[in-house]
Homo-oligomer: 472 residues x 2
């Protein structure tokens, strides 16, 4: 317990005032908090009650405390509090009106519990620390040579060296482009933010697949877009035509190893989407951050058969090399890239030059592709391990598709048991899941299992607890 | 000149269609552009006119081209164009309504000409490549050891290691804080963006000094804040009280080595601002990114006598170590930090882990402070050099204050000659200046001279041209 310091140059009263203020300002004592009694405080501080009283009087005069007759002394205010309580950033307003509250609350809890070491993270969409090439990156730092120009403020589109190297790399994905058609971003989420702010007016429509990653993050909702989920079936063309009307719209998809389902579109489905969107003048955002993690042969990107600049393509190293690099890229027609680059400069003056150097080095020297070969093997082992557990324990209560790559298995329970209550019961047992309803509010059947993050032992233990609780 | 390829698997017609489309989509031919005649195209492509005609017919059917009888064929549309022409991002709207157009246009030109190698940049607010410790950073990369946890997704507030080290570093600036009260950001501009979005509602007031850096960037205007410039004189308290009314407000200042003036507030002025803002419950944003470049003893930060959490403090390594790192920090009460961290996570999932490691390494090992000693000496030499030129040539036409540190000399011409015409005439002579009117629209007297960026030779040459043109 804190006590005033006899050796301080401040009086006891001053020290007590400062200490109470710091508790209020740090948020330990929020507005409305009742303070301990004067007697309790005097005992804690080992000072006279009159000293406590003088300190509280001073704080009352400052407006930070207030007395309520017969009930005690309360925290009344702080300068920041006035701001924090009155102001809601736009995204918050939009989220609250557009997304089910339990959904939003679940995401907040996921973010919170992901910070805790003792939690088994059955759904986390990132590589386990043991899968990251930490040592290899550390070694590669020794071989990186810097140029002064490269570590100053960036050009609006990002490192020219990296953009040149990416042009070559993207050729292997069937994508022909030029450095001027590439924008370096701080990860795929930033790309979506820039598109939302820079290309779309409020009230535009963002089409997406059912069960979409975009429902768990909020770049488009926070800019006032309308999100419409459509199914990828034979009615796609007619549905899009009817729904679009005269509004601006975009189609967002993860056609290779979708998040959260792990499914990939067939070549025919991709071609169908492309020609439909071309006809209806609906640009496509192709989020392709998982394709390098396909276990078998690569499925062509939609961008690879795009001759009309219809497709805005997004890639990243966050799922493959290291999320800490915060490096992704957008490929699009020049005017689109220029617009997005302009907004990025107004936002953060470009991405880290050092991260860009590291990614350029890994791509140019073949380190990246060598690492991918190894990573795919490790992920495959983990996928098989989880599938064996599922086959053993979950066959009577759930279905799933064998993983084709990436991080996820989209586990479907026969009964609609995946609700917030199950989510909370699991947290109570230190198991954190990503329930299907954060990707599609009406879905109470699915869980996104990720075999990429937790250790094998944790996966086993977590799935066992999941099985037990799903039986209750 | 491009011609269709005989060896392609595509027909001539298909190749021509693709080529024209790519020119349209890349923005080489914008909407409204008139195409060459069929005869000219046939000659260029070395094909029959009928082939050209069929290709153009196809593009007309797609809606990309249109014929106007008697005047030719024009670019009519492209998918992105519909988006780009209809939608204006919010910031653009706000900028256009809140800032003088010539101001905004000048800033656009500065951004453009800063990309060109042959331009003498007399105003650029960044370290010259020769002042960056490029070799030293490169060497330091060899000594950085990484932990897997550190290169995954960041915790919302940024690297705990770096925040701990910053607590120690900030003590030397008289600032007592805890890691939980620090947020790592991608440079000071991002800090301002997060504050604008996260803490303030539209219509809030942002107070600032006259001649303010904030008029040349737009984080607050784009969120719909009202900017009010006040002078730092004896009426400050009364002015703030009258102007604030019942609105939310913040006071933004760069009290040590202000951008663009280079001036520092006296201790008394700082204390006066602090107590006034405390009384009126106006939180202060103290932008302190230049203080490490003071040539003589350091002037205390306002944050150093803040006991009430009134001051939000911003620091950065962009002006001292390398802008390419994109690392800055915010010190504020916990609830403010949590709000800003939450929004940052929704925006870009944190700053580069590698940049954070590099900054932590430089701070913890004393490399940073060693570098600062050297850098201040180099800047002092440059400042003296420029001041000698000014004394020799400009004494009859302008005044200035001897630089106390940082990058800038705020050169004031006796006559109001610093207008857009002068700016453009200088560009014509390959000299780029930052005119005072981008920092204060009514100011036609000042130029922000930066002695930090151009080489000594360029500084001499650029100032000579400035002198000549200012005489005309």
């Amino acid at each position: 317990m804190w006590k005033p310091n006899r050796d301080s140059h401040l009086t006891f009263q001053e020290q007590i005032v400062d200490w109470i203020k710091s508790r209020i300002e740090r948020g330990d004592w929020t507005v409305g908090t009742k303070l301990p009694t004067q007697r309790q405080l005097a005992t804690q501080f080992n000072v006279n009650r009159s000293t406590v009283q003088l300190a509280l009087d001073e704080l009352r005069a400052d407006g930070l405390l207030e007395s309520k007759v017969g009930s005690g002394v309360f925290v009344a205010n702080n300068s920041w509090n006035v701001l924090l309580s009155n102001s809601q950033p736009n995204w918050q307003k939009h989220i609250e009106s557009s997304i089910h509250i339990p959904n939003y609350h679940t995401i907040q809890l996921i973010n919170k519990y992901e910070q805790m070491d003792h939690i088994i993270r059955l759904g986390t969409g990132e590589l386990s620390p043991e899968l990251l090439p930490t040592k290899e990156i550390e070694d590669s730092l020794k071989n990186i040579s810097l140029e002064s120009k490269a570590i100053g403020y960036s050009s609006p589109q990002g490192s020219e060296k990296l953009r040149g190297i990416l042009c070559n790399y993207l050729k292997k994905r069937g994508i022909q482009t030029l450095p001027e058609n590439i924008l370096i971003v701080s990860g795929a989420l930033q790309a979506l933010q820039l598109i939302a702010v820079g290309l779309l007016e409020e009230g535009s429509i963002l089409f997406q697949e059912q069960s979409s990653y975009l429902n768990s993050v909020h770049p488009f909702q926070s800019s006032g877009m309308r999100m419409i989920s459509v199914s990828r079936d034979t009615h796609l063309t007619n549905n899009l035509r009817a729904l679009k009307g005269k509004r601006q719209s975009l189609f967002y998809c993860v056609p290779t190893l979708n998040n959260p389902t792990g499914y990939s579109w067939s070549l025919e489905e991709k071609q169908n989407l492309y020609s439909t969107c071309k006809e209806l003048q609906i640009p496509i955002i192709e989020d392709d951050v998982y394709h390098e993690l396909l276990f078998e042969s690569s499925s062509p990107a939609i961008k690879s058969f795009d001759k009309s600049g219809q497709v805005l393509y997004i890639g990243s190293v966050s799922k493959t090399l290291s999320p800490g690099l915060r490096i992704g890229w957008v490929v699009a027609p020049s005017p689109v890239i220029e617009r997005l680059a302009d907004i990025k400069m107004q936002t953060d003056y470009g991405s880290s030059a050092f991260s860009q150097e590291i990614v350029a080095h890994w791509l140019a020297n073949g380190l990246y592709e060598k690492h991918l070969v190894k990573l795919r093997k490790q992920l495959k082992v983990r996928a098989t391990y989880v599938e064996e557990i599922l086959e053993k324990d979950f066959q009577k209560i759930a279905t799933w598709k064998k993983s084709e790559g990436g991080f996820y298995i989209w586990l479907r329970f026969h009964n609609p048991i995946v609700n917030k209550a199950l989510f909370l019961k699991l947290i109570n047992q230190n198991v954190l899941i990503n329930p299907g309803y954060i990707y599609e509010p009406r879905d109470l059947h699915h869980i996104r299992i990720s075999y990429a993050y937790a250790s094998m032992e944790e996966l086993k233990k977590g799935l066992k607890i999941l099985y037990q609780l799903s039986q209750m």
